[in-house]
């Protein structure tokens, strides 16, 4: 793990790949809510997750779940402005990142929230724009939940099984990184006990 899992910004602007990585695992999602996490999605990410995805006729259940969470204000919809899009740094990178990532980075910067993404390139640019402490990932979130005991050792295997079961839709397998995050939480826990 390259990140410090003892710390986590609880207010997150989240892009579409992380939306699905978190929502498709009730274990991760509930632990994060218990930890006090709050998620914001820009309306472009909402369009990607709800409208574009629905046209492909996939995963109706998870789309409904996101709609429910938005209705319950656990995922808050937010908007950026045209002025935000005109920012030079964002315009310059528009050919390197997806539009959802751009809008999320812009909103995170504007509202001083963290940006949660599982994409390497998006993280690299977000670190330049927001500072590395404001850029987080799903494995980092999982590591934090284990460290803070919102997830317990007994949850690990179930979490991996649940995540892998959601891979039927060809989504990326993050199991290895969840394991690294879990091991890191154990290592830090042990170190702290020794001290």
């Amino acid at each position: 793990m390259n990140s410090d899992i003892t710390k986590l910004f609880l207010l997150n602007v989240i892009d579409s790949c992380s939306v699905w990585n978190i929502l498709s695992s009730p274990i991760i999602y509930h632990a994060s809510i218990q930890a006090g996490c709050y998620y914001a999605v820009t309306n472009y990410v909402g369009y990607e997750c709800l409208y574009k995805k629905r046209q492909k006729k996939h995963d109706g259940a998870i789309i409904t779940k996101l709609e429910k969470e938005i209705a319950a204000k656990k995922f808050t919809s937010c908007d950026i402005t045209i002025d935000d899009l005109q920012e030079i740094g964002i315009l310059k990178n528009r050919k390197n990142l997806g539009k959802g990532e751009l809008s999320s980075i812009v909103f995170a910067k504007k509202t001083r929230q963290a940006f949660l993404t599982d994409d390497k390139k998006a993280r690299a640019l977000a670190k330049e724009v927001l500072g590395s402490e404001f850029v987080q990932t799903t494995p980092h979130l999982v590591g934090f939940c284990f460290y803070k005991r919102h997830l317990l050792d007994g949850d690990f295997n179930a979490l991996i099984a649940e995540h892998q079961a959601s891979l039927t839709s060809s989504w990326g397998d993050l199991s290895r990184f969840f394991k690294e995050a879990y091991v890191e939480s154990l290592r830090i826990g042990l170190m702290e006990r020794q001290i």
Binding site: N96, L97, L102
Partner: protein, 377 residues
């Protein structure tokens, strides 16, 4: 100062060009009809997210909507539709728009990867008009590294080496063979109708490349299956014939009696249809009118014209890949985009955008080309 009237004009242009109703846009974007109308009447300013959504839906660079940039590639197609409007169905207009979009994306990817292209420029010296196309075809073959008697390997990739953006996409109008468009950002772009048979596509792409070389003063050229007697079309056909079937090679053949077997063998080697070969032989005076008439009904068996991108694939995978190819996603384009992603020049989400798919289906699309997503933390 943001110009709301200019944005309204651009949005109206995008919608009318692609013949969408407000309801259709609402159904596919979630932006309510009354808001869409108000945008087009410059009554309200869209949010940044709405600009991104509309740019995604209309396949435009969002910068076009939020800057004072006066024209985009798609605006250039307005005159094309004014001239040939009836020939382009609503689906074909969308196809042309997506073609222009991926041309721009390909130009971006080439630029990120710092690809060097060997563009061809017409020489200052002029050739006699009757064999100009033939001479230029020889020069292009030499520029691409072919020896005089060497058979072509991958015609589409060869022309891409010249810096041309070449995509094959299925067009509903089967009378349309190909289109050449000068893109203000991407440069010269060629669209070939994927509905045509493979060997016909080879001739079409060579024909369109001729337009990109000779007719650079035009913003576009549309080629139909049956072109008339237009001098530009005749020249493009001569270039295509000369490029695909070099005179020097054909003249070396020692054939005393033409037979079906010989013609089929030659057509497969040159990757052209029998009729194109017969016209070429007749033009070079290597075949009599009598033989031409005798063999003009001869057809190549379809099995001999297998798409190299689908060769030896199990039928299920071949079917899935064919659907992707019909969208214009050639192996070359997909691999270059993936290379940019692997080198962390673009994100996974951007990769999905430029491959005209969603992040959720990205892995399936890449798998057809034996490519994978990479996760690093």
């Amino acid at each position: 100062m943001f110009d709301l009237n200019l944005l309204a004009k651009k949005l109206t242009g995008c919608r009318s060009r692609l013949e969408y109703s407000y309801l259709e846009i609402f159904e596919r974007t979630g932006i309510k009809e009354d808001r869409l109308k108000a945008f087009e009447q410059a009554q309200i300013e869209p949010t940044g997210d709405e600009i991104l959504i509309l740019a995604d839906f209309f396949r435009e660079d969002y910068k076009y909507f939020i800057s004072n940039q006066q024209s985009s590639a798609s605006e250039n197609t307005d005159s094309l539709y004014r001239q040939f409007g009836a020939e382009f169905t609503k689906e074909d207009r969308r196809t042309v728009q997506e073609f222009l979009y991926i041309c721009e994306c390909e130009a971006d990817v080439w630029s990120l990867l710092e690809e060097n292209k060997r563009s061809y420029k017409l020489p200052d010296r002029r050739f006699p008009i009757n064999n100009e196309a033939e001479k230029i075809a020889d020069e292009v073959r030499i520029l691409l590294g072919y020896k005089q008697n060497e058979l072509l390997q991958n015609i589409f990739d060869d022309f891409r080496m010249l810096g041309l953006h070449i995509f094959r996409r299925k067009l509903h109008n089967s009378n349309l063979s190909g289109i050449f468009i000068q893109h203000p950002v991407a440069g010269k772009c060629v669209l070939v109708n994927y509905s045509e048979d493979l060997y016909r596509q080879n001739f079409t792409v060579s024909h369109e490349v001729a337009h990109s070389i000779f007719d650079t003063n035009q913003r576009y050229n549309v080629s139909f299956t049956k072109d008339g007697k237009d001098i530009k079309e005749i020249r493009a056909n001569r270039f295509a014939a000369g490029f695909l079937m070099p005179a020097a090679v054909l003249k070396k053949l020692k054939v005393s009696t033409w037979s079906e077997q010989i013609l089929i063998k030659l057509a497969v080697q040159f990757q052209v249809n029998i009729i194109a070969l017969l016209y070429r032989l007749k033009f070079l005076k290597l075949i009599t009118q009598q033989d031409f008439d005798k063999f003009k009904g001869l057809k190549l068996p379809k099995a001999l014209k297998e798409d190299p991108e689908l060769k030896d694939l199990p039928s299920k995978i071949a079917f899935a890949k064919m659907q992707v190819l019909e969208l214009g996603l050639s192996a070359t384009y997909v691999r270059k985009c993936h290379e940019a992603y692997s080198k962390a020049l673009i994100s996974q989400s951007r990769l999905a955008e430029i491959l005209l798919t969603s992040e959720h289906e990205l892995q399936d699309v890449l798998a057809l080309f034996n490519l994978k997503l990479v996760y690093e933390f």
